[in-house]
Symmetry: C2
Subunit: 331 residues, 2 copies
């Protein structure tokens, strides 16, 4: 597997350095330990939002640092949780005097390291609350997880909690909004072909030309089942069905429909998936009030996609629509 | 090669249909013939901008339809020029009474078909001017081109000409700005692995695990040379060197540096390329005033990237910074 990198040991540092140079109007990169903060932060009087996780899922999370979303992001090594000694100073750097919300994808390492970091930050008198995102309906427990995994729905939590912080909610309020998004968002993904972690040099798993993996995780960890390759519509039905069922979507409800690329799938194909997913949401009696299509929560160059559905109400819709200005999401 | 499609013969129609549903606030999709127009267009009193070309390069061009950029985009079949019978009505639909600029990538089929469409539109009393984009420094003539090919620099032409139209320039003025961007933008790309056209079912070309193609075209057409796989820094030097040399960049000049992904390369790797390209621009005595990093002018799921440098002046910088609201580019 050929990659546009120099050295597997330096790829995260070099990539984040390039990111910081390209978006110096939005972010500042701190090195040793590595974390990314808003260039204009901390914003005094606003609750701070910090997320992070293993690298390889770009633009998540550093691409979402900026006005209306995250105050800091902490990139770990590839597919490896960031350590508390990076998360803790990022938390202090994000604090504008009203406390900090940690938004953590549900992987055992991430949860533990953010927990330790929260204790360190609280020892420095910064109040920390945590929301653990677990939107993936595919499997109950997994290779790196007790309980459901956090996947593309994390973007929805970060965007909407960011807007709640922006309008002046206090820490308990921002945490409650984040929990409400997490409670109302579900995702499921498929892989057609694996990505390759640079230092491994070989694909994370093997799929033949005639099979796909339904319910794949964003680290290539096993999903529900391997099935024969099928049409985009059939695959989309296998993803969207469990999402809608688990969400228990009722007649007349409004949703955000988010079709996410895993990194190596062309945008044109994501819109083919979106088309069928939308038909399925509508067949369930709901309507699609907001949409997002693109590769936002990736797994290196994995080929595949995920379908995320977020149940909206008036408040969540308004918070989704609120202005956001980051490298990867902007309106 | 597995793909998230239903039928190679329907992939463009279904993808564009999904695109139209997802972005109904921005665009309207016209079927038979297929083209995409601004939902709020035509904008009376504004010069209209129309582009198009073979599909497979998404988000180019339909992703750039909206305020501050294109008024219409015409997607052809995969890697196949759109026909005059689609371009001509798109041109009429984009006309707000002050004429229409055609922005055409330099491929023989595109140039001929836009020319015929311009004649048809002029028979309907719509004045048309054309700018042919040819920013690729890799080769002089190519498989589908007499003269240099149009590649990622097309985005720069569409964005900046769109802003010129928005500020009220007349057709000659918008065309002059577009020509000025084209005269000051250069690109070169590399492929690590080919994409697969759906109806072909096999990769467009073969590269072994130990070789790459420098100067690749966005349809996988041959570049300058095949060379052994190298580090990201070395590859970036092979792309950026010829771009800077051809542009004849002088000491103290300011540029837009645009690192574009070909579709199957992770964003993290694009920032590694950006990092080195920026060092090279600065080593040449210029400075990077604006940056863009992402997969905007793609070749299905081709693995690789291109480096684009646009020489800026005060006017081009202001036009680049002007608001844009499209599916794929927004600020």
């Amino acid at each position: 597997m050929k990659k546009l990198i120099n050295d597997p040991a330096r790829v995260v540092d070099e990539s984040v350095e390039g990111f910081g140079w390209a978006h110096a109007d939005l972010v500042t990169v701190h090195r040793d330990p590595l974390y990314v903060v808003r260039a204009d932060g901390p914003v005094q009087g606003k609750v701070g939002l910090v997320s992070g996780g293993g690298s390889g899922h770009e633009p998540l999370h550093a691409g979402f640092v900026g006005a209306g979303m995250l105050d800091a992001a902490v990139p770990g090594a590839m597919f490896t949780s960031p350590t508390p000694d990076a998360i803790a100073p990022a938390t202090l750097a994000a604090d504008g005097g009203r406390g900090v919300l940690h938004i953590v994808k549900n992987y055992t390492g991430d949860v533990l390291n953010f927990e330790t970091a929260a204790e360190l930050a609280e020892a420095d008198d910064v109040e920390v609350r945590t929301v653990v995102v677990n939107d993936d309906v595919a499997v109950e427990d997994s290779l790196y997880t007790a309980g459901r995994r956090g996947v593309a729905g994390t973007l929805c939590v970060e965007k909407i909690a960011g807007a709640a912080a922006d309008r002046g909610d206090d820490l308990a309020g921002v945490a409650a909004v984040a929990e409400r998004v997490n409670a109302n968002v579900r995702s499921m993904g498929v892989a057609l072909a694996a990505g390759t972690v640079p230092h491994a040099g070989v694909p994370s798993f093997d799929l033949t030309e005639s099979e796909i993996e339904i319910g794949i995780g964003i680290h290539g960890e096993p999903g529900r089942r391997r099935v024969p390759m099928a049409s985009a519509d059939e695959i989309t039905e296998q993803l969207t069905g469990p999402v809608l069922q688990d969400l228990g979507l009722g007649e007349g409800e409004q949703v955000l429909l988010f079709v996410n690329g895993m990194g190596g799938t062309p945008l044109s194909e994501l819109y083919v998936v979106y088309r069928r997913a939308r038909q399925l949401v509508e067949a369930a009696g709901a309507s699609v009030a907001r949409s997002l299509v693109g590769s936002y929560v990736t797994s290196l160059e994995m080929q595949g996609a995920s379908v995320t559905v977020l149940r909206l109400d008036e408040e969540l819709t308004a918070l989704w629509d609120a202005p956001v200005r980051t490298a990867a999401l902007r309106w």
